[in-house]
Amino acid sequence: MTDQTTEVPDDGTIPSFSRAPVGAMLGVVAACLSSVGTLWIGGLMALVVADVLGRNFLNAPITGVSEIAGRSVVAIVFLQVSAAVLQKRLTRADFLLRAIGGGNPRGAHVLECAFALTGAVVFALVLWASWPKTWEALATGEFFGVQGVFTIPTFPFRLITVVGAGLASLCSLYRAACEIRALKGGGV
């Protein structure tokens, strides 16, 4: 899975703006979202620990921990998925692809490009599918939790899905463009 011709290094560092402006911009935005997701994992741990301690020692359980934790899991995924796309960290079985790449690098680039485009389509579909409900949630003030006990609006969570999927789609497109450039340049 090493591909020297792409501007985004596989270790996930962001390419310089002068060399690859689009890649740099996408990389920075993805890294920012991903950092929020990373912090959120820490927050999740703190929330669970606080609930356990509060419930057992302070007689003060935190209400809604399980719902909040459930929603957090989804948020974390969509915050981090773009960075995972850019860093090519999504799980796959690439043995055949590498075998093809050994004999026919152009073929491998074509396949990679097709896969990246599939990714762009998949995330665009998620974006398209989630779009109406997101704004509906904002308009109706949709919340989760229980009236009078605790309520949290769902709009920010739905927005994370939309933004995350949208950015992931762009990142996939960028990856496809990288593959095409590699194909044209004949770079191996």
Binding site: G141, Q147, G148
Partner: protein, 329 residues
């Protein structure tokens, strides 16, 4: 003869109290009624037990037509269908679950606010779903309200409201967490109902049942997707309506049987049953703050109408709610 394909489904398995009558009464009844005339047959496409969606998505599944007919838990739809949750904000109304079924079958069809709320969510309400009455299953008996002081009880969702000003701390949870929560002292009991407690064996760790009669609750409904229902031939719509009536009866009977069987089996397994004295129950009821307030704020005039209609119906059915939550409307 014309064949109609109907997708029917639920987030819960077929044995579940809210799904049982769909599979065992609604479907066969529709078949039977249509077979009498011989004009139509139904090809049922079943997706029970959450194969298509989870319990959090029961409304969206029917609304969006993922299934044509489904169990909709309005109890999980506090944001989109708050009106249906009126019973959870008005505890101590009635323990007669069959009465709740009758009332909500009627109101969901005839009270504009409730009927429209189903229609706004692109659904047609067919048959009401309920729980049997809530009581306290705990490690200790509750003889006076003082016994609840500084106790920790599992009380998920809206039921947390029922413990306000009682001195007990509500702890979140679900039927599946009560057993270990109580066993390990995380909590000392739970607010729940017999038909739910029996299969989860919570009575093993909480052997003292105090019958309080917090009341039977409206849980949701069996509903059809509105576009789908409106597109059905008239005889099939009629068959649906008639089958739905039979389903309501069957659901009430099933819950009654299950609750009775649960009490027998749990007592045989060592459950001790106590009764909360009437004067203590009165203390609890009058001591509760006005928990309907946030619900009324959220639902506005429609909420007022539903609350009033519900309480009028309760009284018309001969129930005496221990607190007149509709006072001052």
């Amino acid at each position: 003869q014309q064949t109609i394909t109907i997708n029917i489904g639920s987030s819960h398995p077929e044995q579940n109290i809210w799904v049982y009558a769909m599979k065992n009464t609604f479907q066969p009844e529709v078949n039977r009624i249509l077979a009498e005339k011989g004009e139509y047959t139904v090809d049922w496409n079943e997706a029970y037990a959450g194969t298509l969606y989870k319990f959090t998505d029961t409304r969206e599944a029917v609304m969006d037509g993922i299934v044509d007919v489904g169990m909709v838990g309005t109890v999980w739809e506090g944001a989109n269908m708050p009106l249906q949750n009126v019973t959870y904000f008005t505890p101590f109304a009635t323990s007669d679950h069959k009465m709740i079924i009758e009332i909500f079958d009627d109101l969901s069809a005839n009270l504009p606010e409730l009927r429209d709320s189903w229609a706004e969510n692109n659904m047609v309400h067919l048959s009401s779903l309920i729980t049997d009455s809530y009581d306290i299953y705990a490690t200790f008996p509750v003889n006076t309200m003082a016994d609840l002081q500084n106790r920790k009880l599992n009380a998920p969702g809206t039921s947390a409201n029922w413990l306000r000003e009682t001195g007990a701390t509500p702890v979140d949870g679900a039927l599946t967490t009560y057993y270990t929560n109580i066993q390990t002292g995380v909590t000392e009991g739970t607010l729940s109902f017999a038909s739910g407690i029996l299969p989860t064996r919570v009575y093993e760790v909480a052997p003292e049942l105090t019958r309080v009669g917090i009341g039977s609750m409206y849980f949701g409904g069996i509903a059809a997707n509105k576009d789908f229902f409106d597109g059905l031939p008239e005889p099939v719509q009629v068959a649906f309506r008639d089958a739905a009536k039979a389903t309501s009866t069957a659901h009430g009977d099933y819950v009654a049987d299950l609750a009775a069987r649960a009490m027998t089996e749990m007592q045989a397994a060592g459950l001790t049953v106590h009764e909360l004295p009437a004067e203590e129950k009165t203390k609890w009821v009058t001591g509760l703050p006005n928990i309907i307030e946030p619900w009324l704020e959220q639902t506005g005039d429609a909420g007022k109408t539903v609350l009033k209609a519900y309480f009028d119906a309760l009284r018309a059915h001969g129930a005496t709610p221990l607190r007149n939550w509709d006072e001052g409307l």
